[in-house]
Symmetry: C2
Subunit: 232 residues, 2 copies
């Protein structure tokens, strides 16, 4: 194995709390009352459907910043936010560029970097991922994005395209992700797979940790454990 591809949202960063915390501060400063966590959950709820419209060809290619902006505009209406300036709206959409890492991510990536090529493979656009990696101090050798292939995951073009750009065979490449559908799509085209449990991605984790899925090459409860397994 030569290269690790990382899903980003949910796998490496805690998008939900990061966005909600920033929007709460924004709302409190401007005295805008809103259930910001509900807004963030609804925003994330628009994520897959908005990409699916592109994947099915119902709308031309649009990068994730654009999809986030369009879905935020719909939600601003649904949540009855007061009218925002263009600068405020762009600032809000850019909160996806400034997410906090899960606590294990920065050090585990440094450690894995000594042994493997590390790249993102995210539906986030390149500019978003570059800003995010700088903000969260996540070390990658390359920023690979759906934007480079004009295909969103789980389209096979993304997994195969990323391996090819790194000069690796699919079997020399492992996708690391917290989402089974992403991993299954990667496995279907020959990549290896590592499942990282992130039970708190969508809110408080259940009292009892769910069982790890058995269908992937590796399944672990955090990135420290992945680093231990792959680079220990």
């Amino acid at each position: 194995m030569r290269a690790l591809l990382f899903d980003v949202f949910g796998t490496l960063v805690d998008w939900r709390r990061s966005i909600a915390t920033q929007l709460e501060a924004f709302g409190s400063e401007r005295r805008i009352a809103c259930d910001w966590y509900a807004l963030v959950d609804a925003w994330r709820g628009e994520y897959v459907p908005s990409m699916d419209r592109v994947r099915r060809g119902e709308q031309p290619w649009a990068n994730l910043d654009s999809l986030h902006a369009a879905s935020f505009d719909r939600l601003a209406e649904r949540f009855a936010l007061p009218s925002l300036s263009a600068i405020e709206r762009d600032w809000i959409v850019k909160r996806w560029h400034a997410l906090e890492p899960w606590p294990d991510a920065p050090a585990a990536l440094e450690r894995l970097h000594e042994h493997f090529i590390l790249a993102t493979l995210s539906n986030g656009n390149v500019a978003l991922l570059v800003d995010l990696a700088r903000h969260a101090r996540l070390r990658f050798d390359a920023i690979l994005s759906a934007e480079l292939f004009k295909h969103y995951k789980p389209d096979s073009e993304t997994y195969l395209g990323a391996a090819a750009l790194l000069g690796c065979l699919p079997a020399e490449t492992m996708l690391v992700a917290a989402h089974e559908s992403d991993l299954r799509a990667a496995a279907a085209v020959g990549l290896r797979t590592a499942f990282i449990a992130r039970p708190g991605e969508y809110g408080s984790p259940p009292a009892e940790a769910p069982a790890l899925p058995a269908e992937f090459d590796v399944a672990v409860r955090g990135l420290d454990e992945l680093a231990e397994r792959l680079a220990g």
Copy 2:
């Protein structure tokens, strides 16, 4: 200014001595007599013509590893090298993935990284640049390559495409390069430009340092000086 794009061969790494040194060791081990510096110079001589055939549409897109392989095969014949195995030939072509940095490059990039987004913008393919950045310990936020645009520099698609992927306007983006033609093409589409003198790129530098060109936004004699000017 938000992002610095770096030309790589000649600007950040000493390709000539790096390749020749490795080929000399290869030849000495196998008792192959050859003027390896002459071969490296001839190999580099094929670089622009081979990309120009792609740029003019005379041959379909081929990444730099492929162009290097094809031109090496022609030179092996011209330099009357003995027959090499496929593994030896691939190893030789991959020497372009393992070039040594100019001594000022690693520390200057670390320093600039605190202030700007740093990316490659090279005609080298992504896999080559990833391997090279790891080998030479060059810090980038993103690996941008002609390969992503299926256009070689100095086609404008490369400069504008790189700025767009980083979410920057051309005027927020500066190309850093040791070659005036590259910088002129970037300036023509609105990027800022920094010229780095590398008088030893093609062999021993002249006794007297040539004057710095006046037409670029910045012109310096090394990356330390660039870091001092931009991040001092």
